[in-house]
Amino acid sequence: MTVSQDIFRKALLDAEQPVPSGLLDAQGDAAGTRFSVYRNNVVVSLSEALATAFPLVRKLLGAETFGKLAAIYVRAHPPTSPLMMFYGKDFPEFLDGFEPLQHIRYLSACAQLDFAMRRSYHAADAPPVATKELQDPERVMQARFSLAPSAVLLRSVWPLYDIWAFNMLPSAPKPRAIAQDVLVARPEFDPQPHLLAPGMADWLDKLNSGHALGPATSEILEIYPDFDLTASLALALNAQALVDYTTKETP
């Protein structure tokens, strides 16, 4: 008559399993569909958490399809931590392998963008580099930075920024048929995606791996002659994506 948590758990996420015997209603009869309250709570609460975390995917699929997808995902991939804010880390990978939605090939990339926004929202605070710190033209090319903890770079073969804007902003144009890199950054509390010009993601990567501004820019210009340093630096600074300004050699 002992209902172990193992037995309870098996029946909880698999509605095909019988309700464990040893669970009773008010009359002392078998609990029957009363067990469904727990089944329902778990699937609904996890599905709602997923819908909150992946607004772009939900917009693309519509609430009904997203709900059906979520019910499948949450049973197959229940959370592995009580930190529900990070639930769905492997949702992009799941979507990649989910046969019925293979025709929407950019869906996984969109899930990555949603998750990047979530990570950024909860990332550690760090004082951003201010434009006025870079006034000295003698030293600015020696400047070194790191990416802020709230900054996330996404490289996509899809027009990822355009898809996001078309679905999440009023009156944005239709996505163009081009590959787009996106920087998610958090000026204060609300993360924003930014479209990166070709070369800028590599440039930010070089800065983040310890290259000074001058050498990083020269290397990028060799590959991307149209790379615009002023515009790129302005975008990164305004987005508050850069931290840890120094003009010293990093060890």
């Binding site: 209902v3 669970l23 008010a26 727990y38 009580p82 909860h122 550690a124 509390f189």
Partner: protein, 284 residues
């Protein structure tokens, strides 16, 4: 030197509400009868951003109750050491007046099921839950409050009543209790006993906080009433009456209005807090 001493050592015997970010500006501006706030521990375990900033602002102004929903105190496995460490860090950062968790389980192996799942009231459960409470109190260096669950079914194997089970946990661990009168009303209706009888049998001297909240009404296979703890509606009159009944025995206690789903606008929640203030006034 920075003053890091807690500003609020105890929850006041006054109304509180479950904190929702959409009410931040209203609470900072005109909290009405609200003297303290409850925050769900896990929502503040990210690394920074708005949740941390809001919590810093709120803790200057309100006594805080940190209410955990993820510790799985009733779990058959060991408590999650990483989660306990995060909780300890949050408590140090927040200096709350109270910490509470649930008589329930939510973690199984590596999985977190995000619901408060029920326990059989047996000697084995008692021993395990008492050990977990002792572990939490040792690590946090403070007393915790334990909340009674909403029950939709009973375990044939149970040998203790819920009230005796809670009293024995208090005796063994020195923990306090969070008495959720909405949960009492739900469980009593679902399992066919008297909610007043439950209060009469409950170790009221250990109550450090009281919850009220809304629930949904359904029926089971046999057509019997089945109430579901939804925290998505106003508190119903029989639950307010059960609060009055309880307060008449306990005297004034901190009373929290929980509203977690379909969160209403601030005036609606403030009105519920006003009603809690009216319930407290005869016993203050």
């Amino acid at each position: 030197m920075l003053d890091t001493s807690p500003r609020f050592d105890t929850l006041p015997p006054a109304p509180g509400v479950g904190y929702k970010p959409q009410h931040f500006a209203d609470l900072m501006d005109a909290p009405g009868p609200v003297a303290w706030l409850e925050v769900h521990a896990e929502n503040y375990m990210g690394d920074g951003g708005r949740p941390h900033a809001q919590l810093r602002a709120l803790q200057e102004r309100f006594a805080l109750s940190v209410h955990g929903v993820g510790l799985s105190i009733g779990g058959e496995g060991a408590l999650d050491a990483d989660h306990l460490a995060r909780l300890k860090e949050l408590m140090a950062r927040t200096q709350p007046a109270s910490f509470s968790e649930h008589l329930a389980w939510s973690t199984h192996g590596a999985e977190f099921l995000n619901d408060l799942l029920p326990l059989p009231y047996t000697n084995a459960t008692l021993q395990r839950v008492a050990a977990h409470i002792n572990q939490v109190q040792d690590i946090l260096g403070r007393q915790m409050l334990l909340e009674n669950p909403s029950s939709y079914l009973a375990f044939a194997e149970s040998t203790w009543s819920e009230t005796d089970f809670l009293a024995e946990l208090v005796r063994r661990t020195g923990c306090g209790l969070l008495l959720d009168v909405n949960n009492v009303f739900i469980s009593a209706t679902n399992l066919g006993y008297s909610p007043q009888g439950y209060i009469d049998a409950y170790p009221l001297e250990a109550v450090g906080e009281i919850h009220v909240g809304g629930h949904d009404e359904d029926t089971d296979d046999a057509g019997a009433p089945l109430l579901i703890d939804s925290h998505g509606k106003p508190v119903v009159d029989p639950v307010w009456a059960l609060l009055d009944y309880t307060l008449a025995h306990t005297g004034a206690r901190p009373v929290l209005v929980e509203w977690d789903n379909d969160v209403p606008d601030w005036p609606t929640l403030r009105d519920e807090a006003m009603r809690a203030a009216r319930a407290l006034s005869p016993v203050q």
